[in-house]
Amino acid sequence: MLAQIHVTFKEGVLDPQGKTVHHALNDLGYDEVLDVNVGKYLEVKLDSVSEEEAEIRVREMCERLLANTVIESFRFKLVSTE
């Protein structure tokens, strides 16, 4: 099983990288761009666990290490690799 994890800044936390990319896209003429949030994408390969177990374990991994929940939020999807 594969956990596809996205970690991004929480609403209201200044993201200087996102802001810079936003301005760059506007400069390229993409005026429709309203906001950009730059985050992290992680793929975590898991060994023989049930989906329910994986859901609990991956959430714990995010809370303990992969995201700093003071400033970041996370979301993930579990994908079967068989």
Partner: protein, 229 residues
């Protein structure tokens, strides 16, 4: 005073801290290796030095926070032992939950290495008791992730409890936007916990404490700790 300097893979200010405490201030100073979990009860001070522990991978301090020595440092701090985190050490203290808030990428998106002024906001702590209240210290910074963040409500709470120890300022001690190098909320440069035995700061006092260099403003912080014993 018995001092321990933690060495993580990637620490690069550990020798500076050791030199100041051992050779300049003549304190009983020891190395603490990151892979060891040891009883720290005989120590008066543990220093988490600056650097790039574990390559700053994931987030600065995120991996170091789980190294074996932290299993000793965290209970040491919880029992009232004094812990000083400088730069990367500050990041580790935040990641480990010993201090509130987080450090983010500088709002300039650049690594900043220069001398800055900070104003002493509270002298009622073991880290600042030898400083003059509202005095201005000239201390270098060198970081990429030094923008302190905490939500507005918690910041006010910390101010009321005297947990904000240093703010970036100009040479006269005025807190202005242009004297805030990294976009920290409230121009915060250093904070302590509610019990006032754990302190983290982005500026490097160990880089301005050797009298070979004309600026020894950093000594007031180490001297505060020594006066405390």
């Amino acid at each position: 005073m018995k001092c321990g300097i933690v060495v993580f893979p990637g620490s690069n200010c550990d020798h500076d801290c050791y030199h100041i405490l051992k050779n300049i201030l003549k304190q009983d100073t020891h190395w603490l290796w990151h892979k060891d979990s040891i009883d720290l009860s005989s120590f008066d001070l543990v220093v988490l030095p600056g650097g790039f522990s574990y390559g700053d991978y994931l987030r600065a301090g995120a991996i170091s926070r789980f190294s074996p020595i932290m299993n000793s440092v965290i209970p040491f701090a919880e029992k009232g032992g004094k812990v000083l985190g400088i730069c990367n050490g500050f990041q580790i203290l935040l990641e480990s939950g010993l201090l509130p808030g987080a450090l983010m990428q500088n709002h300039t998106r650049k690594f900043i290495c220069k001398n800055v002024y900070v104003r002493v906001e509270s002298t009622n702590t073991p880290f600042t008791q030898e400083c003059q209240d509202k005095s201005v210290l000239d201390i270098p910074i060198a970081h990429h992730q030094g923008s302190y963040y905490i939500d507005h409500h918690s910041l006010i709470d910390m101010e009321e409890k005297g947990q904000i120890l240093f703010r970036y300022c100009d040479s006269k001690g005025n807190i202005t936007d242009s004297s805030n190098p990294n976009g920290s909320v409230g121009s915060v440069a250093g904070v302590c916990n509610e019990q006032k035995n754990v302190m983290g700061m982005m500026p490097h006092p160990e880089r301005c404490s050797d009298p070979l260099w004309p600026n020894i403003d950093g000594q007031s912080i180490f001297n505060s700790l020594i006066a405390q014993g």
